[in-house]
Symmetry: D2
Subunit: 347 residues, 4 copies
């Protein structure tokens, strides 16, 4: 009999849900126990209910599994939520109330005071906030940040540690997959740029302040940091590119920034989590790199890719940043968080 | 016999050259007299020598015209240069030395002291610099700025006039056509972002200072203005999108900026130049506009389109800007300049 | 007061409806009187209710017009239907029953015995079938065929007239716009081919038999003709490309086929209908033409473009065919039909 | 010391050469000994000389290897040629003359009488033709067919074995990567179909006759088979889709065809070659499959994917076929051939 931890996936048929199904296929610690989706999918097989859009096949063991509704049973365990934010809030709460350890990709609970919003390498210590949650049966909710925010904070963390941050200006070029499925119609995105993504700029301008917060007496002290963001949808399938300018607290040099990234000590390094990338940050000296199609999948799609570091005539420095929005930015990031929880015996 | 001014096109077979051919097809003032290209095209018909990529047909009157080499005759007249910057410099000089009135799309002479770099609505007065050029037979060189710079300066001009400018930060999402033909391989650009365009950022960070210069005693006094730019190639065919943040000299409001654009007095308005757009600036209140594919062709592709005006948490205000890079940004912009020269009796 | 014929558009906010609105903006004979759409749009302005996707602006005179529901009044007149086939059938019937002269883009009534399915140049004579329809107040229904079928029959008609047709094999590469809006999600179509379009092959294999029918004693005698079709959706915005092989009744030659196309006598030529293309058929000798992006918009998007004629080792000849699916294939084709009806004093 | 067979790659920096480098990174039997390219790359490191376009990194062990020119030494061994057909012919001959066992992706020697054109599963027995080649030192040339032909013959082989083939009509929708790098300009392919690929139709209409030839007395007896092909370039990065109609010698049924594919006995099955796909043929019952982006990478990109089997009103049956053109269709197919040669002790 399997010793793996059973997992429930909420929203299992959507684009992020599919990533969870794919990533969990041969996971060494976890295995899929329940696939939940909206009522109209209930009772269908996974293959029937799903408009599968990944370029790897539906895992054979999953094709014929029946879909359940998103209704918690008694004593739920590890639960990944890939639900739409239209419905995620109360469903996640109802699962936690039945003891589920919910790891959510949705925005609904991210700013709740006792809910950690976690990038494992950056603020894994925030996880202890779960002890302040009042759910019975050991239930809790942990969230992952917005996909563009995850990459941004991973790139900024070494700079914050070495030089301090005063201001960050960021312009994004985001992939179609960020809008889910069906998401953006092809007629609306082919040969086009849509210079607006609802709610996205608000998230980018507020979530980093919580992610970089200091825990003091079990309370988060948000980092004061000015952020300006402009978010654009462009015609690529996967991978968010971000152009970033930063103003640092300490004066620095191009070499020192590069060194801060390359020598940054990943606190998870010794944990050997199955979904950790080999390196968290890849730095490119070639001026034409990173590129969306070429680098998004490097290292399981779990790293960030930085290039084009140069001085900014207005702030201090600017650079370009790429990450995979549905792997590191969604399902992969949530899975890594679950692995960290497992390592800390919190599952 | 036609009373139209005869026109020579240098680099007539390339992507910008094709735009000149297309725009001049039924022009009320000008008509194509000579089509010049590299030696390997010499003697071929235009249809044979050209890999035509526009979605209107090659004008019937041009198909069978013979291509000449780029060698000036005595007493050249109005000459549009769409030459590659690899060869444009000395060829344009040799034409001017034979009396040609050269209007160039190339970068080679843009920063020459007595060469005006003209956006007709913005700095048409700079044209008088040509009187300082020492070419015989009335020859001169006038340039148009870089395509991304043209749109940027058209959007900034009303703000400069009303509020003064201290700093501008701009991130571009540029079309394939900006790289000419063959330009970027499809395998290099499909489903991808290339975060680097050689030389482009240098142009964006220096040309506006000359364009916004004041003429004093027939000398240009460059505008002091800090500009930071990051230029990206994305998979669209035509149309450059720019995300702009500005710091103004005077404090202002969202309403005042919008009003500055909408009420800006176009100095060309009374001239009725054939290539002038009906309005120089279109402003969109809808948050999802402007969009590349939807708006690039509005008003003959000669206007700029602005939207998403909002406060910037770091500088003062930010907005999004679109223009057509091979119409307003190249052949159309040069043609409008020639029309202004004609109106001023300088042809 | 305007002497133009007032027009009702059903389904005015959709992708084909938008084409009707755009084409009727400055039409010399017709003008928009009513814009009708689904109940959820009723009472909104056209600009509010419409996700406009064309690269020309919403006509200024239309932006603020109110949307009505699709409910016929007494004494309706010329009515274009761009309704989804889910609802078109009974609504069109209800309009005809109130005297409307309905010209429909939907499939619902195409195969009705007394309903002509018209390509004006090909089978304009079928229009007389309307006299067999039993609607009161002079109402009737005329349909246009499927978009891929229109182009195919326009290309085949000269061959049918000159050589007779025995068999036609056709493989299509169809644009996103053929699926309407929102239509195909970008994640489903970027960098992809979808080798299936519901119902499309059935239409291509049956509609030409009716279009090419002979009228005998006011009855259509369907043309016996074997057709095999395979329909694919590919990542282009507009324009359907078709690869066609034909088996003719008479033996022929490459030159004779080309001549059949070039010398074909268009029966509408003397009518000077406003939406007629200058030429119905463009033939290309260059092997790389026609191309979707280059030629779809030629001649108002109302012609067909043929190239690559060569012998077929299995049937007799093969060639490549392009047309604009939402202009000639939808709104433009229906408008041309209305113009022919006007010319025949049937409006 | 490594016991792996050393390998030379000719044309190592091009798009197919990159695939060879990538596929050989951890190959259990072979290892890269020499990287050869054109004279202008000679002496550079692989990373300097190569415009790497794959989404996996350049193997670390290869980045700094020096490029040699394509000049054979004495006693060359296993040699993969990814050279352009402009130069491949004589270079491959010169290598074979020095004892190289050349496996070529180029067309130059494909039709030579004693040169086998091999798809390992389909006509691996043709390999014995090499014994008729007259090169010294054990040198020989083996070729792989055109990329579209490989997929077509893999799909047809089970039908040929079970029912015999009389005629095949095929229309292709081919990826940008098939044209190499730089290949097709993005401006020429975005939002477009190019209905012509030089030489491609000639290959598709002749190579299958040799591939399906019977060996009799060490001579190939070409299969008589009529093939009609039309080849199109469409805007996808990788993966060729083919629409196929077949006329069989024996009457058959849909079920029997499907069964012929599913029950076909792969003659390589027991060989356990490292590059063999798990299954050679994947069959889809879902009407919308296979799709280019979803299925091209399945099973290492080495299988073919078939769907949409149905009756053809003109020939007998029709279906849709997908394969990966630079994996199975180029480098992967050549590598599998080398593995078969190794298994047969012919290296």
């Amino acid at each position: 009999m399997s010793q793996k931890t059973p997992v429930t996936i909420l929203g299992a048929t959507g684009s992020v849900g599919q990533r969870f199904v794919s990533l969990l296929e041969n996971h060494p610690w976890f295995e899929i126990a329940k696939l939940c989706a909206s009522d109209k999918s209930e009772g269908k097989t996974y293959a029937q209910a799903t408009n599968w859009i990944l370029s790897t096949p539906i895992p054979a063991s999953i094709r014929d599994r029946k879909i359940s509704s998103c209704t918690p049973s008694v004593k739920e365990g590890l639960t990944f939520s890939a639900l739409s934010s239209n419905v995620a809030g109360p469903i996640e709460t109802s699962y936690a109330a039945q003891g589920a350890k919910v790891i959510s990709c949705s925005k609904n609970h991210r700013m709740d005071e006792s809910v950690p919003m976690v990038i494992p390498e950056v603020n894994g210590d925030h996880i202890e906030l779960i002890h302040q949650q009042k759910f019975p049966h050991g239930g809790y909710i942990v969230t992952k940040p917005n996909c563009s925010v995850i990459a941004l904070c991973m790139a900024l963390k070494p700079l914050l540690d070495s030089f301090g941050l005063e201001a960050v200006s960021v312009v994004t070029m985001q992939a179609a997959s960020g809008a889910g499925f069906p998401g953006v119609p092809s007629l609306a995105l082919f040969d086009n740029v849509i210079p607006y993504i609802e709610d996205e700029e608000e998230k980018m301008e507020s979530e980093p302040n919580k992610i970089f917060a200091k825990l003091q007496n079990s309370k988060l002290q948000f980092l004061p940091l000015s952020i300006s963001s402009s978010c654009n949808r462009i015609p690529v399938t996967e991978g968010h590119m971000e152009v970033v300018s930063v103003k640092l607290k300490k004066k620095s040099t191009l070499e020192a920034l590069k060194d801060a990234w390359l020598s940054w000590k990943n606190p998870l390094e010794s944990f050997e989590l199955p979904s950790s990338p080999t390196k968290m940050i890849y730095y490119f000296d070639e001026p034409q790199f990173p590129q969306t199609r070429l680098h998004r999948d490097f290292d399981k799609g779990m790293a960030v890719h930085i290039g084009r570091l140069r001085k900014c005539p207005i702030l201090d420095f600017k650079f370009t940043l790429l990450s995979h929005n549905t792997l590191r930015g969604a399902a992969g990031g949530a899975l890594l968080t679950a692995e960290l929880l497992a390592k800390k015996n919190l599952l």
